[in-house]
């Protein structure tokens, strides 16, 4: 049957589809230039990245990198987006990237695509790795069996990408003749299928999608009610979903075998040996501790140095230029707004985004591309079970030590809503890099390093207890860890830089407008001495409970903009660089402790709104305030009794 590309002229779009960790984003980068757009799929928080092709053969065609999926059924929010995008937008070309080292598993998704007669072009990635494993693929044979084009590519160095682009162009121009392979299931299932086809009048591929458990096809299936009776009459050994899936895996395996030649397996590579070491708890845990220590060293030592550099440069060279431009404006109120917005706001943004966030993203991208992160999830799965979470939550939680914004966004990988909500709530309590700046800059500097550690310890206790309580009270099912452990790979620098850049851009879009607006509002309130009035009604309360002076309460408001601004404002308001002239050591300790927990910063609140809705955002915010104030008041009263810091 000749396949007619009905999508011609409608949607000249290429999409990339494949299992997670198959190198999709890498191939995407090979196809596109710098300009990429991150957008949310309508109605979801799942992100899809689009761009335009920038190759010799293929210019200015929209290309979209869809979330990684193991199947088209849609068993997680990400997979549902991939499915819906393919079936509703009907892109003209679907590039299905496969991992050659593990062809049969990856062919499972391919079979689903081909079964639905979609314009698939297969890109075989990791050819060299497969060869060194002793696996040689006959891609012509594979193409013959499946009836779709197959191209060997190397996503890292771009080999084969031109050929892939040529094929894509052919498909777009309807010059390729598809002869779709039609998978044949076991006898019983085939009998069931033909009965259901004649019973419902639906097409074969729709019935198969229905039986696989794909809820997206539901509205199109006729006479659903009776279908289950028919299925039952076949006395299948397993559930119908499992039966279909089982057969499909068998088919995938036989196709893979037919097109593969396995020569003798070579010795374990050094990366495989390293992989074993990172997984075995005895060696894996020390490596994990080392990796985490390395991340924090980079962040705190380098990040802090980097930040100073940026602040000095900004204040020394850029701010004066802005200021002199602003001073040209006659209206004083406008001058003020611009000063706060463009000087305070941008400085705040730059000094978090550039040093901490970019370094953090850079390191995380390395960990991600090298395939190390799933090992962390595996090693810490048991610990997370104590909080009724599982290993997958650990990745967002680690990100939280850098910055809560990307961490909250990354919680999307969790498939259950309950686990996402718990993880996100805990994230708001994790001391991010800005909080660390306060703990180090105030407590460690003026009170003592052991007290800085004490704050971390208290935070940890709070996080564990909140997690413990939420884990046992929030309704919903406690699922479990299911995670593919990709082989360790040497990441490409180009890819990491691009990834870091895309994420940094996303952060800047969310955080900068808020920082600027927030800086203007708080700055103006401060200029007209209104801040004091706002604080006044509550300050006696805080003064009594926390035993902190009024000015400190004001600094806490600044801390909402950016946590470490609380410390900067404290220094400004105290009028001295030595905080001890203004506050007692105990007060400094309480101040650090409270700022480390109270209210998520404004950028965090923005993502919270986006991810969990305003109601839960309010709950989380109130809860952090209550916890912070309670802790502060306990410490204020308890420490003198115990004779600590008095």
């Amino acid at each position: 049957m000749r396949y007619q590309n009905n999508f011609l002229g409608k949607e000249k779009e290429i999409v990339l589809v494949g299992n997670p960790n198959v190198g999709k984003s890498c191939l995407f980068n090979q196809f596109t230039g710098i300009g990429t757009i991150i957008s949310n799929y309508p109605g979801t928080t799942v992100e899809i990245i689009s761009g335009f092709t920038n190759l010799k053969h293929l210019k200015n065609i929209k290309i979209t990198d869809l979330p990684g999926a193991y199947s088209l059924i849609g068993s997680s929010p990400d997979e549902s987006v991939t499915r819906d995008y393919i079936f509703s937008k009907k892109p003209g070309v679907i590039i299905n990237i496969l991992d050659t080292t593990n062809l049969s598993r990856h062919l499972y998704l391919t079979l689903q695509l081909i079964e639905n007669k979609l314009p698939v072009v297969i890109a075989l990635n990791f050819i060299e790795e497969a060869n060194s494993d002793g696996i040689i693929i006959d891609s012509k044979k594979l193409s013959q069996i499946l009836g779709v084009p197959v191209v060997e590519v190397n996503c890292l160095n771009g080999k084969g990408v031109d050929r892939l682009a040529e094929i894509c162009e052919m498909v777009i121009e309807n010059k390729f003749e598809f002869k779709f392979y039609s998978p044949q299931y076991s006898k019983k299932i085939e009998a069931l299928l033909s009965e259901l086809i004649s019973f419902t009048g639906n097409e074969r591929q729709d019935i198969i999608r229905f039986l696989e458990g794909d809820s997206g096809i539901w509205p199109r299936i006729k006479r659903k009610g009776r279908i289950y009776n028919i299925i039952r009459s076949y006395h299948l050994e397993h559930s119908i979903e499992t039966e279909i899936s089982k057969d499909k895996h068998v088919i995938a395996l036989s196709i893979a075998k037919e097109s593969t030649k396995i020569t003798k397996k070579t010795n374990k590579s050094y990366l495989e040996k390293l992989s074993d070491i990172t997984i075995k708890p005895k060696t894996g845990i020390p490596i994990l501790v080392f990796v985490l220590a390395f991340i924090f060293f980079f962040l705190f030592v380098l990040g802090a140095k980097f930040e100073r550099l940026i602040v000095i440069t900004f204040q020394g060279y850029i701010a004066p230029v802005f200021q002199s431009l602003i001073n040209l404006i006659p209206l004083p109120i406008v001058r003020r707004i611009l000063t706060h917005g463009f000087i305070t706001g941008i400085e705040a943004g730059l000094s978090i985004a550039i040093p901490y966030i970019s370094i953090f993203y850079f390191i995380i991208s390395i960990l991600e591309d090298s395939g190390y992160l799933p090992r962390v999830a595996y090693l810490l799965d048991r610990v997370m079970h104590k909080l009724k979470l599982h290993g997958n939550s650990i990745i967002p939680l680690i990100l939280g030590f850098g910055c809560n914004v990307p961490a909250i966004l990354s919680a999307r990988v969790l498939s259950s809503w309950r686990e996402r909500l718990i993880t996100i709530t805990l994230l708001c309590l994790i001391p991010c890099s800005a909080v660390t700046a306060i703990i180090l800059g105030a407590t460690a500097k003026y009170v003592g390093f052991q007290f800085a550690l004490l704050i971390y310890f208290i935070d940890l206790i709070i996080i564990l207890s909140v997690g413990y309580i939420l884990g046992r009270t929030l309704p919903g099912e406690h699922t479990g860890l299911i995670l593919e452990m990709p082989p360790l790979r040497v990441p490409s620098l180009k890819n990491i830089i691009k990834k870091t850049w895309i994420r940094l851009k996303d952060f800047v879009y969310i955080a900068f407008p808020l920082l600027i607006a927030g800086a203007v509002v708080i700055g103006l309130l401060n200029d007209y001495n209104l801040l004091l009035y706002i604080v006044k009604p509550v300050s006696p309360f805080f003064k009594y409970v926390l035993n902190l002076p009024e000015q400190v309460i004001i600094t806490l408001i600044f801390g909402i903009l950016r946590k470490e601004m609380a410390l900067e404002m404290l220094v400004v308001l105290s009028g001295s660089t030595n905080l001890l002239e203004f506050l007692t050591p105990l007060q400094i300790f309480v101040f650090s402790l409270v700022t480390s927990i109270y209210i998520p910063c404004i950028a965090t609140i923005a993502v919270l709104l986006k991810e969990v809705g305003w109601k839960r955002t309010v709950y989380i915010t109130l809860a952090t305030i209550v916890i912070a104030v309670t802790l502060g008041s306990i410490v204020t009263r308890l420490f003198p009794i115990l004779g600590i810091l008095s």
């Binding site: 193991y70 199947s71 059924i73 068993s75 997680s76 080292t101 593990n102 049969s104 598993r105 499972y108 998704l109 696989e212 458990g213 050994e237 397993h238 559930s239 979903e241 499992t242 899936s245 089982k246 895996h249 068998v250 395996l253 997984i279 075995k280 708890p281 799933p374 999830a377 595996y378 090693l379 799965d381 048991r382 079970h385 599982h390 290993g391 498939s415 099912e477 406690h478 699922t479 479990g480 860890l481 299911i482 995670l483 593919e484 452990m485 990709p486 082989p487």
Partner: protein, 212 residues
């Protein structure tokens, strides 16, 4: 009389649960056995005391792992006896069920084993149902040790999303796996078709395998 009844309850719950794939209500059990709800509740309490079922009042009855094993032992005996009655004694097929039902409680495990040998280890009973003998070899995935290989027999995952994910990753019957690493009381890492996958303990406890 008492122990006969107990076995019947277990068997009925076992069959109902297998068909419905969920916990059983006491009403359903009463209907199936043709007894009053009160006597069902009384027996369920007894079964719960001996650790064979878990139940929530009036709502749901679930066999415990021990209960399942016990029920499967009875079903297994029943089916072997059916085969014996039909193939060796030549009793009519319509009668073998009730006859086997009477015998199943009195035959010892050893005699059944010997009968099974004589019948050349059948896989199905005369009615064509699977004898849960194979299931007796079934163990949970998390009982497989490091370096051991196993073949997946079936899964008992109720959460559809998890089932679909596990299916699409290739955890389907007849697939061979090898356990690579294990954390005590924690997840396991296994290889399946040249690919490594980590599974949490709770998922492993819903996948049944046969060690090979």
């Amino acid at each position: 009389m008492e122990s006969i009844k107990k076995g019947d309850y277990l068997k009925t719950i076992y069959h109902l649960q297998k068909n419905k794939n969920r916990a059983i209500k006491s009403v359903e059990l009463a209907k199936d056995l043709g007894v009053s709800k009160a006597s069902v509740n009384e027996m369920i309490k007894k079964l719960a005391n001996s650790g064979l079922v878990e139940y929530k009042r009036y709502t749901s009855i679930n066999l415990t792992k021990r209960g399942i094993r016990e029920a499967e032992r009875i079903v297994y005996k029943h089916k072997i006896l059916e085969g014996f009655l039909l193939n060796i004694l030549g009793i009519k097929k319509s009668k073998i069920h009730s006859e086997a039902h009477k015998l199943e409680h009195d035959f010892s495990d050893d005699s059944i084993k010997k009968l099974e040998k004589i019948l050349k280890k059948p896989e199905t009973c005369p009615h064509g149902d699977r004898i849960p003998d194979k299931d007796k070899e079934a163990c949970l995935l998390d009982s497989v040790g490091i370096g051991e290989k196993a073949e997946i027999l079936f899964t008992k995952i109720k959460n559809k999303k998890i089932l679909e994910k596990v299916n699409s990753l290739g955890f389907v019957p007849n697939t061979k796996i090898k356990v690579l690493n294990k954390i005590r009381n924690g997840p396991i890492e296994l290889s399946l078709k040249n690919c490594k996958i980590a599974l949490g303990k709770s998922i492993c406890r819903q996948i049944y395998v046969k060690k090979i």
